[in-house]
């Protein structure tokens, strides 16, 4: 009992620390280029690659949609540029000692885009709708453990959860929408974010306008933001050269090179873990020696140099280095360059002395993955490994490789959010997202202990252990976190990168 108390108080301490971060309020704007005076007004066209999958913030699944909706909707809390939580619709919150009750105090005077003040009833409705308390289906699965949402008074909402989980707090970034709006026939999206919705046309894009009542004073700068959907990277390049778009992200290295005279080129680490994933249940990768051999033979440095001009962060396991607390560098295990001798030795042991052959399925629409696969296939030849590249259409990849797991190896990326569990949960034996068929009892136990732990340092340690198991068992050959490279109109300033996949237009402005 005594021990438990200790655990709980430690957790409370941590949460107070989190609260402190939250009370700090508005994130300080980081004006990267000094001397650029921001001005108000103006309209900007942002090129995006994917069409949106839903205008409903609780139903939107695609990262490409959330990236845009971030400007329209906000939760009680919001992720800041450092990946930390800050308060948004809430101005304060506290968590009970047992971690089961969350109490949020609402910020005064936050208005929806329709002019109405945000009430505790709206918050209750939004959380109940997202968590499935309203109709049984949890639209936001991480909120599924919620048991009740109670309005204490007009400024206070209390949320009870069935099981304590330190990472649940990140789910309160779920959008707050006006009561009933999710069900009302034909309603346009209404949130509290810096921009409000104007119009959407499939395949063309989304138009947003400034929310003059935005609670963060001085933001946003721009009057209008148009997100324009451009499916092909080649078309995007043409349009950038014709100056029809002001901002475009996910440029390849060579595209950035072509544009550097006309645009500001900015780069930051992305939220994508790129790897050569092995199907751990299919020959030849059901043999740990083969997996390890490929890990040794793999030249990550070369992939980094060729594909992203050396701007990637080389990784060893499934964790983003930007999640600093949880990341552990295990690159010593197999090295970042190619260790051909060791690879050949292991292959001989595994019975592939005459050489190994396998196929890498790669989704053809992801230029960076295709290029990485090509470099890897070429480079593995040195170790007598003959990898054939098979380009497949994205939807076929999703169905054959990801869902049905009929493949030998694939190069692709998995994206993360700010919680460490997000990347690691999928490698549990029974996880429906475990498309590499990784099976390790030790891993399952470690992960479950970690996610259930209410003690931060213990949790951190266990997550690091889980990463080590992935590396030791050579679950896959994790390669790199490629950078996000954006091209931005030279007249613009104030762009901020987030560790998650969002395009925050509220801080962007035209320079004087």
């Amino acid at each position: 009992m005594k021990k438990r108390n200790f655990v709980v108080s430690l957790m409370a301490l941590l949460l107070i620390a989190a609260l402190g971060a939250c009370a700090g309020g508005k994130s300080s704007e980081d004006k990267s280029s000094a001397g650029d005076q921001p001005t108000y007004g103006g309209s900007v066209v942002v090129g995006v690659q994917q069409d949106i999958d839903s205008l409903d913030p609780h139903k939107a699944k695609a990262a490409g949609t959330k990236e845009i909706l971030f400007n329209i909707f906000e939760g009680l809390l919001k992720t800041d540029v450092n990946g930390k939580l800050t308060c948004a619709v809430a101005k304060d919150y506290s968590v009970s000692e047992d971690g089961l009750t969350y109490t949020f105090t609402l910020r005064d005077g936050v208005k929806f885009h329709n002019g109405n003040l945000v009430t505790a009833e709206d918050v209750k409705y939004s959380l109940e709708r997202a968590s499935g308390l309203l109709d049984g289906t949890a639209l936001v699965s991480s909120l599924a453990t919620l048991e009740s949402v109670t309005v204490i008074d007009e400024h206070t909402v209390q949320v009870k959860t069935g099981s304590a989980n330190l990472e649940l707090i990140y789910s309160f970034t779920t959008a707050i929408i006006p009561k009933g709006s999710g069900e009302a026939e034909g309603s346009d999206p209404i949130g509290t974010g810096p921009f409000s919705y104007v119009s959407y046309k499939p395949q063309e894009g989304l138009v947003l306008k400034k929310n003059a009542d935005y609670w963060q004073e001085g933001l946003p700068y721009l009057d209008e933001v148009k997100f324009k959907i451009i499916n092909s990277a080649d078309t995007a390049l043409m349009e950038l050269k014709g100056h029809s778009i002001d901002l475009y992200s996910y440029l390849t290295d060579s595209q950035a090179e072509e544009l550097k005279n006309d645009y500001q080129i900015l780069a930051a680490p992305s939220d994508v873990v790129q790897a050569l994933f092995f199907n751990n249940a299919a020959a030849p990768f059901d043999n740990i020696l083969v997996r390890q051999a490929v890990c040794y033979a793999l030249d990550k440095d070369r992939a980094n140099d060729f594909v992203t001009g050396g701007n990637s962060r080389i990784i060893s396991s499934a964790m983003l280095p930007t999640l600093k607390d949880y990341y552990v560098d295990l690159n010593d295990t197999y090295g970042t360059g190619a260790n051909i001798e060791k690879a050949k030795e292991l292959l001989t042991q595994a019975g592939y002395a005459d050489g190994l052959e396998f196929t890498i399925d790669v989704p053809s629409n992801y230029e960076a993955h295709v290029q990485t696969a090509e470099v890897v296939a070429e480079q593995l030849k040195d170790a007598g490994i003959n990898a054939k590249i098979n380009l497949i259409e994205w939807n076929s990849w999703l169905s054959d490789v990801y869902a049905d797991r009929k493949y030998q190896a694939t190069v692709c990326g998995i994206t993360s959010d700010m919680t460490p569990s997000y990347l690691l949960v999928r490698f549990q034996t029974d996880s429906s997202k475990n498309f590499i068929n990784f099976a390790s009892k030790e891993y399952d136990e470690t992960y479950q202990k970690a996610s259930a732990s209410l003690k931060m340092d213990e949790k951190t340690e266990l997550y690091k252990q889980a990463q080590k198991i992935l590396v030791d068992d050579a679950a896959s050959a994790f390669i790199q976190v490629p950078p996000i490279t954006i091209a931005m109109n030279k007249d613009l300033g104030g762009y901020q990168f987030y560790p998650i996949y969002v395009q925050d237009m509220s801080t962007v402005y035209f320079k004087k």
Partner: protein, 319 residues
């Protein structure tokens, strides 16, 4: 009358067969709209729930019959992929209705270019006795025919858009907002569509005219005392146009059905672009209607070509 009934029956039968084939194709290709929407975040429960919402859990035959029944009633259903607002999906008719004017305008403009340039060029070429000019036109049209229109699109964008700055690639304006701006933006895509077709049509017309020049009626006309000019325009052209009309019909069908690649290159939100993205996201209701539309256009244009024959050459109907 009997002719019309026969044509109509062919149209209906073809549309039916095409819709069945498209449906079957969708059963065979891997992945469905659910995998497309959920991506790598899919859990089996979520996927199941979404399939039920969209009615994809029912057996294929049941789905086809209910879909076809709705289409017959004029209800084209909703897109699986595109939203209209927060809680409604975009009706297919609205989605296509919005994109159709773009493709039709592009087709119309290209046809104008083709008609205005190719026919005079063909006649001029046929009458020209200049060897050098003949070689130039021969090589020129051969080249123009060989270049695929998407590549031509890229060249046109680069040359006129980026080097000469005559237009801004990607700065497409909607026809609802600014009609003349819209037409202005369409000029360069229309040129890209038209160039290879102009070359083909001009060659075709020239060859057709040269063949006709040797016909008996030409000798008769000359012996009547008609000038070369009168012979060329009054007699030969009319006869030489016969195969060209068929050819133009094919071109119209091809362009109206969606200048798929050119739309991609110029970022035009027409039905060609819609078709490609709907196939890749497995948006079945949209793809099905688009394919039916394309089939419909092709059949109807061929029918009109048939009718036009009878106008140009009354001998056909008396046969």
């Amino acid at each position: 009358m009997k002719y019309l009934v026969k044509k109509l029956a062919t149209l209906i039968l073809t549309l039916f067969l095409v819709s069945v084939l498209a449906f079957l194709a969708f059963q065979i290709i891997p992945g469905d709209v659910v995998t497309s929407i959920l991506g790598t975040e899919a859990t089996p429960e979520q996927a199941q729930q979404l399939r039920e919402e969209l009615g994809l859990n029912k057996p294929p035959l049941v789905r086809y019959i209910s879909w076809a029944g709705n289409v017959l009633k004029g209800n084209f259903g909703n897109s699986y992929r595109y939203s209209k607002n927060m809680n409604q999906m975009m009706p297919v008719s609205e989605l296509i209705g919005d994109k159709l004017p773009v493709t039709l305008s592009l087709a119309f403009l290209s046809m104008i270019f083709i008609a205005v340039i190719a026919i005079p060029l063909g006649v001029f070429w046929a009458r020209s006795k200049n060897r050098v000019l003949d070689v130039i036109l021969n090589v020129g049209t051969q080249t123009a025919m060989a270049v695929p229109s998407f590549f031509l699109g890229v060249l046109v964008t680069y040359f006129f858009g980026i080097l000469l700055r005559w237009f801004s690639p990607g700065r497409y304006v909607s026809y609802e907002k600014d009609f003349w701006g819209f037409v202005g933006y369409l000029i360069f895509p229309a040129i890209s569509v038209a160039i290879p077709k102009i070359a083909m049509t001009a060659r075709f017309l020239r060859n057709s005219m040269l063949t006709e020049m040797h016909a008996d009626y030409v000798r008769t006309a000359y012996s009547k005392g008609a000038t070369e000019r009168q012979v060329a325009y009054g007699h030969v052209l009319r006869n030489a146009m016969m195969p060209v009309v068929t050819f133009l019909g094919m071109i119209i069908a091809e362009i109206v059905a969606g200048s798929i690649v050119v739309e991609q290159v110029f970022g035009l939100p027409g039905i060609g672009k819609l078709l490609i993205s709907s196939i890749s996201t497995r948006d079945f209701p949209v793809v099905e209607i688009l394919i039916l539309y394309i089939t419909f256009v092709v059949i109807v244009v061929y029918f009109l070509v048939d009718v036009l024959y009878r106008v140009i050459d009354p001998r056909i109907s008396t046969k």
